[in-house]
């Protein structure tokens, strides 16, 4: 019945249905129910067979099909007739679309951080806030997590973990021991998997971290160690640099941590594992735990405050804050983030760039198609005479735009897949599968966006084109359309504005990065080679270290050798409260501790502002410290000299300040200098830092080989690892550089599109004026004056757009530069060069195009009737 209702002409439905039912009841009387039913169905199907009785819509569709076919045909004919124009349009649009998709993918990835956890909105990170120096820290005392769990209603689960990325895993198989390093291990408590969602592929997911000495590996870590073996149940040894060897049983294997997680781990070790003398890490009370909670509802702020007051009894400056996990990647201000965080502003900026590039491509399409309107005018005229309505023509031109857009979209996808290696976006792939996933996820938005794009690019030209009056067009009185001239000018200027703004911003980003790299850091890290100390340490390790240091120094190409617990660019991983004897305990300042040796200052060419550095001739020096300028300022000491008279209270002992080191940038120049305190360490450090002679760079490979020989002589079979410090230090700018590259790449595309647009616009302007030029020439105007005359308007227009662009760029850049501790001074040159560049390009294009016109015989231009 419903089938009939759907298919039948509504007017006939009642009659036929009535007939069928009457027939049905009669058959029912004669032959019984089953026969009647069968009869009914057969008759009904028999009716459906007759197309004549179906809805009239069906007959209309064939009509529409014909019309649509005609539109397709004429569209393709017009493409064919003007191939160059068609190709230009397709090329511009597909580059625009490809850029848009690429950037959108990047932006989507950046915004997708940490959303893969189940109930991600209810997961929060607990931060410690210091009201004194107004800084946040993600490192908390382990008790805070415990307190939150037991004392605060509304918190469903709490997990704490401690990050260790310089441990070593040992696995012994058939008597062979293999060492694995360069991985990140978290000491995590048993609720880790109640808060986060990392699916298991092997082993149990039910509280795998509840028992001590249990270890969970990620898929790739497991295959690195075990290959094809089943790791579950196997025992590995974990070496934390601070503790003796820990035996661990593999209880499970999880999928690899997704790239869009703000923390990355390769292994998880149960937090209650006894690390030394039966004591677990948790009991050591280090303030070093990332703490995350999963909430039932809203976060009870006042409860957080209560826990803070109970915990920080002696320091009212310390508070607890929470941050949604989904905010961490793009919205983070925490001091010790686990991995480098993204930047919301930059992400938004890129999203905006993507939109602008797409719009510019659409503008070009609009400009080209309205400028070429003359060629379509006759077609429009004839169609109108044949009875086309204006709306029909509008639809026709929209369909043409749709076809062009569609071809461009396909081409854009092909371009993306083909040119993926050229795109400087590294964290998202552009393989076929990822692209289809992209199209799969938001199919609706994409279809919608595509249609909106078609309308944006097609509506205006369609209206312009379909509004020609046939009487004017067909009488041949129609000359080049000046309709839409203002719009075209406006769109072109907008393009210029956007591209100049992008150029300015990109160059400033690059200059800022270079500025930071070249800026005086306060220490000299050029030509410094870092050699890691060995992992397997025997009984005479201490002697071996001394031997090796002497071996290093014996080479003529080695200027000096220093040992320190951390290096510029590496993390300062340990901060401790320090105060002057007359200060109360809550006035203590957190200072980053760094162990150095007596050669450190000379080696890195740091400034010694007052006092002396460590010197073994004065004794063992273990109760002496050096401070940096920032530290003495925070401690309230007025001058370096005054600092020398001070004693400091730290970790229950009193220390003498023997010297003050000038501030140097331990981290990149994005950050301001951290307060540091230096203690004397022997050689018990993770690395040697070796200053090489600068003038022998060419032979460095050979020299490093020599050092490696020595290394094996001193330490036997240990792995030799070396790197240049400057490289790893500058790697801190990688993210900025990637951003610069992305921005630069797409700015270049924007410029190409803008120049295409300019070319089209100027070609049109010049050709419209061809008669005027010819007449002027005949009347004796010089070439220069003619060119000046033609270009005056365009030049002024572009100058204005350039100035507007400068304003926009200045506004954005001021905001962006503010996040850097060491800021580049914006000079007028940053703005003037791109603007002058734009005006020069415009001038050049006009000159070239009008010169070719000027070299022709003016008579032919005047003679043409167009």
């Amino acid at each position: 019945m419903s089938l009939l209702e759907r298919l039948l002409e509504p007017r006939l439905y009642d009659a036929i249905m009535g007939d069928l039912l009457e027939d049905f009841y009669e058959t029912l009387k004669d032959k019984g129910l089953r026969a009647a039913k069968r009869h009914f169905v057969w008759s009904a199907l028999g009716i459906v067979r007759h197309y004549r009785l179906r809805k009239t819509r069906n007959r209309q569709r064939s009509n529409f099909n014909a019309m649509f076919k005609n539109y397709l045909k004429t569209s393709f004919r017009s493409f064919y007739r003007r191939k160059a124009y068609f190709l230009l349009n397709i090329l511009g649009l597909s580059i625009g679309l490809a850029s848009f998709i690429a950037i959108q993918k990047y932006v989507e990835f950046e915004r997708s951080y940490d959303r893969f956890h189940e109930g991600a909105e209810s997961i929060h990170r607990i931060l410690k806030y210091d009201n004194g120096n107004q800084s946040y820290s993600v490192s908390n005392h382990p008790d805070i997590g415990l307190k939150l769990k037991t004392d605060v209603p509304g918190i469903e689960a709490v997990t704490r973990f401690y990050n260790r990325d310089n441990g070593i895993l040992q696995y012994t198989k058939d008597g062979d021991m293999d060492l694995y390093k360069d991985f990140t291990l978290f000491y995590a408590d048993k609720d880790f998997f109640s808060v986060f969602s990392f699916p298991f592929i092997k082993g149990s997911g039910i509280n795998p971290l509840e028992k001590p000495n249990n270890i969970v590996l990620t898929e790739s870590m497991a295959s690195r160690i075990f290959g094809d073996e089943d790791p579950v149940g196997k025992t590995v040894q974990f070496k934390d640099p601070n503790f003796p060897l820990l035996p661990c049983v593999v209880v499970g294997v999880t999928k690899d941590v997704p790239k869009n997680s703000h923390f990355q781990f390769d292994a998880l070790l149960s937090l209650n594992t006894p690390v030394r003398d039966g004591t677990s890490l948790e009991k050591m009370g280090w303030e070093a735990y990332n703490t995350y909670v999963k909430l039932n509802g809203a976060l009870p702020e006042e409860q957080l405050e209560r826990v803070a007051r109970e915990h920080f009894v002696d320091n009212s400056n310390h508070m607890l804050r929470s941050q949604a996990i989904t905010d961490i990647h793009l919205n983070s201000g925490a001091l010790f983030g686990i991995t480098e965080n993204g930047d919301k502003r930059l992400t938004n900026y890129l999203a905006l760039t993507a939109l602008f590039i797409l719009l510019m491509a659409y503008f070009n399409y609009i400009n080209f198609s309205t400028a070429k309107s003359l060629e379509r005018a006759k077609e429009v005229g004839v169609r109108k005479v044949m009875g086309s309505r204006k709306s029909d023509l509008t639809i026709q031109f929209l369909i043409e735009t749709f076809i062009i857009n569609f071809i461009s979209l396909i081409l854009a996808v092909i371009l993306l897949i083909g040119l993926a290696p050229l795109i400087p976006i590294t964290n998202v792939g552009f393989g076929v599968d990822t692209l289809f996933k992209f199209f799969g996820n938001e199919r609706l938005y994409i279809v919608l966006g595509f249609l909106i794009g078609t309308v944006i690019s097609g509506l205006y030209p369609a209206i312009i084109l379909s509004s020609f009056k046939p009487s004017v067009v067909l009488r041949g009185k129609f000359s080049r359309s000046s309709s839409g001239k203002t719009i075209r000018g406006l769109l072109t200027s907008l393009q210029s504005t956007i591209s100049v703004a992008l150029v300015i911003i990109t160059t400033v980003i690059y200059s800022q990065i270079n500025f930071m790299i070249k800026q005086d850091k306060g220490v000299d890290i050029t030509d410094v080679l870092v050699i890691e100390t060995p992992d397997i340490r025997g009984e005479n390790y201490r002697t071996q270290l001394g031997v090796y240091k002497n071996m290093l120094l014996s080479h003529p190409f080695v200027q000096s050798v220093s040992t320190s617990s951390t290096l510029p660019g590496n993390s300062l991983n340990y901060a401790t409260p320090v105060r002057l004897p007359d200060q109360r305990i809550e006035e203590a300042i957190m200072l980053y501790t760094d162990g150095i040796d007596e050669d450190f200052i000379k080696h890195y060419d740091a400034d010694l502002l007052a006092g002396r550095t460590f010197d073994r001739t004065f004794g063992n020096e273990f109760d002496k410290v050096l401070l940096n300028e920032t530290s003495i300022r925070l401690l309230g000491i007025n001058s370096p000299e005054e600092a020398l008279q001070s004693n400091l209270l730290m970790e229950g002992d009193t220390f003498n300040v023997i010297g003050v080191i000038g501030d140097y940038n331990h981290y990149s120049l994005k950050q301001s200098v951290n307060p540091q305190i230096f203690r004397y360490y022997g050689s018990w450090v993770p690395q040697f830092s070796v200053k090489m002679t600068a003038n022998s760079q060419a032979s460095w490979t050979d020299q490093i080989a020599l050092l490696e020989n020595d290394f094996h002589e001193a330490f036997g079979d240990n792995l030799f690892n070396s790197r240049f410090l400057e490289q790893s230090f500058n790697a801190q700018y990688d993210e900025d550089r990637q951003f610069g590259n992305i921005s630069g790449f797409f700015s270049a595309i924007a410029i190409i599109i803008a120049i295409l647009g300019l070319l089209g616009f100027i070609a049109f302007t010049v050709s419209v004026k061809s008669k005027e030029i010819a007449i002027r020439k005949v009347l004796g105007a010089s070439k220069g004056s003619i060119i000046l005359n033609i270009s005056r308007n365009a030049l002024v227009l572009n100058l204005v757009s350039g100035l507007i662009a400068g304003g926009i760029a200045y506004y954005f850049l001021g905001d962006w530069l503010n996040q850097y501790a060491a800021q580049l001074n914006l000079s007028a040159l940053h703005f003037l060069i791109p603007i002058i560049g734009l005006v020069t390009i415009v001038g050049l294009i006009i000159t070239v195009q009008s010169l070719s016109l000027l070299s022709k015989n003016p008579v032919s231009a005047i003679n043409t009737e167009s």
Binding site: D14, A15, D19, L21, E22, D23, S43, I47, H50, L53
Partner: protein, 111 residues
């Protein structure tokens, strides 16, 4: 559409509609054809033919507004022959008669 010629089935249906006069609706027409001409036609065919005839302007239709229970409360669509339908029928008949009239007597006796 083949002009305004009446097809064989169309002529039959048209004649039946005229016969039934005030009660010419789909099912009645079909039953009449089955009974009087001893020909089995389906309801769909009848409606389809009626529709075609209406397109040609030979019949017109209107709902009678009845709500008989035997029809599931649905009205009948009653058809009546228009004057052009009538003249088409007459033309057909005349043509046929003419043809009959001019058949040579011997034509059927050949066997």
């Amino acid at each position: 559409m083949k002009g305004t010629n009446l097809g064989e089935l169309e002529e039959l249906v048209l004649l039946v509609v005229a016969n039934l006069y005030t009660d010419a609706y789909g099912l009645a027409i079909r039953n009449e054809i089955i009974e009087r001409c001893n020909r089995s036609v389906s309801l769909g065919t009848v409606h389809s033919t009626l529709h075609r005839l209406e397109d040609k302007g030979y019949v017109e239709s209107k709902y009678d507004g009845s709500k008989a229970n035997s029809r599931g409360g649905r009205p009948k669509l009653l058809f009546s022959v228009t004057s052009s339908g009538e003249s088409a029928l007459k033309l057909n008949r005349e043509m046929r008669n003419q043809l009959w009239d001019t058949i040579p007597k011997l034509a059927f006796g050949q066997k």
